[in-house]
């Protein structure tokens, strides 16, 4: 975690964000002790941390756009769900096969999609997410359509399974931590610099010998890998999957988390995921209000705080000035 903190610090220290970090850590600790329904909220947040971290590599680092990463979560999640629930595989090989399947699909669609720009890229990725959704609905001999698949085995290797809520929480904290550390490692490496260079100026990157098309594809595959892992974690943690789990609202939710935390920053993914999951709305069982709240929150952030928590200090200063005047 040490390197994470230094990275956070190097990107200009943001007291507001540091306070929120502390609150997030305290929230995890409190939840672990108290247990109850908060644990489920945190499971959800940590799985989304993995998903959003991947999205951040493709969008925040590399400056590309994808509205369709839910497709890779769905492909991997469904593969793992079907293999474990219908064919009694172990979760580990099922999850690995799901990951491989998602990466293969990402490779096949990645090449043509990444040549597109602007709203064409946005729409193409959106279409990929919707196609996978349609397939999940229509292919009901395998996916059981809208009904979904239930009774999916919990995570585990062989006889060792992660059954209790607390054990799952520890496991997910470790996975989410690893995903953040690996993202931090990527950001500081030659690979990550190439990604950020592409976001800054594709022409300049090419003029320095960076094969932009290839690196965009690598970023796409890495982020699809995170999405796939998140998808598999989700179906095993919840024990259930349906097309709605990986629908369009998932995309909006993950963008809300990404923007709340601050797109392009490493810790933003975790911070955004925890804060958004912990919003009172998400405790309610009415899913309709949740999606409404996420959508509205995303619009508000885009308008008033486009850099997420990173813009809190600026807003704070502005507010103080207004009060003083």
């Amino acid at each position: 975690m040490n390197s994470l903190i230094t990275i956070w610090a190097n990107r200009r220290i943001n007291p507001a964000a540091l306070v929120l970090w502390g609150l997030a850590a305290a929230f995890v600790a409190y939840t672990f002790v108290s247990g109850g329904y908060l644990i489920a909220v945190l499971h959800f947040a940590l799985i989304y941390t993995v998903f959003v971290t991947g999205l951040n590599i493709f969008m925040g680092f590399t400056g590309q756009v994808s509205f369709g990463h839910n497709a890779f979560a769905a492909i991997s999640g469904y593969t793992s769900a079907v293999l474990t629930a219908t064919y009694n595989w172990d979760p580990l090989p099922a999850g690995l096969l799901g990951l491989a399947g998602a990466l293969t699909c990402a490779l096949i669609v990645g090449y043509p999609v990444l040549r597109l720009r602007g709203h064409y890229l946005a729409m193409a990725t959106l279409a990929i997410g919707l196609i996978v959704y349609e397939v999940a609905v229509q292919w009901d001999s395998v996916t059981k359509g809208y009904m979904g698949i239930s009774g999916i085995a919990p995570l585990g290797i062989g006889r060792f399974t992660v059954v209790s809520d607390r054990a799952l929480l520890i496991f997910l904290v470790i996975v989410a931590g690893l995903s953040l550390l690996s993202a931090a490692g990527i950001r500081r490496s030659r690979l990550g610099r190439a990604f950020v260079a592409i976001a800054g100026s594709e022409d300049a990157a090419r003029a320095l010998g960076i094969d932009v098309a290839r690196y965009k594809l690598i970023a796409f595959l890495i982020s699809a890998g995170y999405a796939a892992i998140a998808g598999t974690l989700f179906v095993h943690a919840v024990g259930f999957v349906s097309p709605e789990v990986f629908g369009l609202p998932m995309v909006v939710l993950s963008f809300t988390m990404l923007y709340v935390g601050g797109i392009g920053t490493i810790g933003g993914a975790a911070l955004g995921a925890i804060v958004i999951s912990a919003l009172p709305e998400s405790f309610r069982t009415f899913k309709d209000y949740q999606d409404l709240a996420y959508g509205a929150a995303l619009i508000a952030i885009l308008i008033y705080a486009p850099r997420g928590m990173a813009s809190l200090p600026a807003l704070w200063t502005k507010w103080r000035q207004r009060v003083a005047a």
Binding site: N10, S182, G185, I186, R188, S189, R190, L191, G192, R193, A194, V196, A197, A199, G200, S201, D203, A204, A205, R206, A207, L208, G209, I210, D211, V212, I218, I222, G264
Partner: protein, 257 residues
């Protein structure tokens, strides 16, 4: 010994001929310059050489090989490195990181090195770090290493772009109007830097508007006018060439010579 040879380069945009049968050799040592009035086709020439734009006709040879039509990243990998007329920095990277990106071509680390810092991976990163800091010290940006590139003052942004290009270890460095927007003092610093680069056996080809800089630093000059090459030679020869005087120096630019 020439490093770059252009044979009959022509580039059309619809009916407009931006470059008309330009043939030119650039020596592998020293500082060459292409000058010409606005719209003479200088930047188009750079775009054709560096692979950002294919020529309509003609061939480009670099370092003994035909590079016509190769993509920019492949041309860059042969150590022909360019900068841009409008500075193109990676603004969300630090100054140091910008230069490290310049080291992309002679480093290898991929996803594995990013995730598992093995001894080899750390050694490569340390070497890149040292190389980048050394270059920044040479160009006088060492103190700004940890600053975000976006917040540098304009003159230093220009310097950083050149430093970053040097990190790619060019055999030939193409500089597109490096003095544009610089004040007199900054231009002098730039001239010194360019001479020191040339002294280290890196050839430079620059496009420039600032005639005083060109006359001060260039070993040889080519003059473009309406896409055609109208003169080549040493600064003195070009200055005396009647075609050049008619086409270019006869205008108010002559006052700067």
């Amino acid at each position: 010994m020439s490093v770059l040879r252009l044979d009959g380069i022509t580039r059309r945009f619809g009916g407009l001929v931006a470059l008309d049968d330009v043939s030119l050799t650039i020596p592998g040592k020293g500082l060459s310059a292409v000058i010409g009035p606005n719209g003479a086709g200088k930047t188009t020439l750079f775009n054709v050489i560096s692979g950002f734009m294919p020529p309509s006709a003609g061939r480009v040879h670099f370092d003994g090989a035909d590079i016509t039509g190769l993509p920019p990243e492949t041309i860059a990998s042969r150590r022909l490195i360019r900068t841009f007329q409008l500075v193109q920095l990676f603004e969300s990277l630090t100054v140091l990181e910008n230069v490290k990106v310049g080291c992309h071509l002679h480093t290898r680390g991929g996803l594995l090195a990013a995730l598992l810092p093995t001894r080899a991976a750390r050694a490569e990163e340390a070497a890149v770090d040292a190389e980048a800091r050394h270059l920044l010290d040479e160009t006088g940006l060492g103190a700004q290493a940890e600053t975000l590139a976006a917040v540098l003052p304009y003159g230093q942004k220009r310097l950083l772009e050149i430093t970053r290009a040097l990190a790619a270890r060019p055999k030939l460095l193409l500089l597109d109007e490096p003095a544009a927007g610089l004040n007199r003092q900054e231009t002098d610093t730039l001239a010194t830097l360019l001479r020191s680069i040339v002294a280290r056996d890196t050839a430079i080809l620059l496009i420039e508007h600032d005639m005083s800089l060109v006359m001060q630093v260039a070993d040889n000059i080519a003059v473009l006018d309406f896409g055609r090459l109208i003169a080549t030679g040493s600064p003195d020869e070009v200055r005396r060439n009647p075609d050049v005087i008619a086409a270019y120096l006869g205008t108010d630019e002559a006052a700067h010579v």
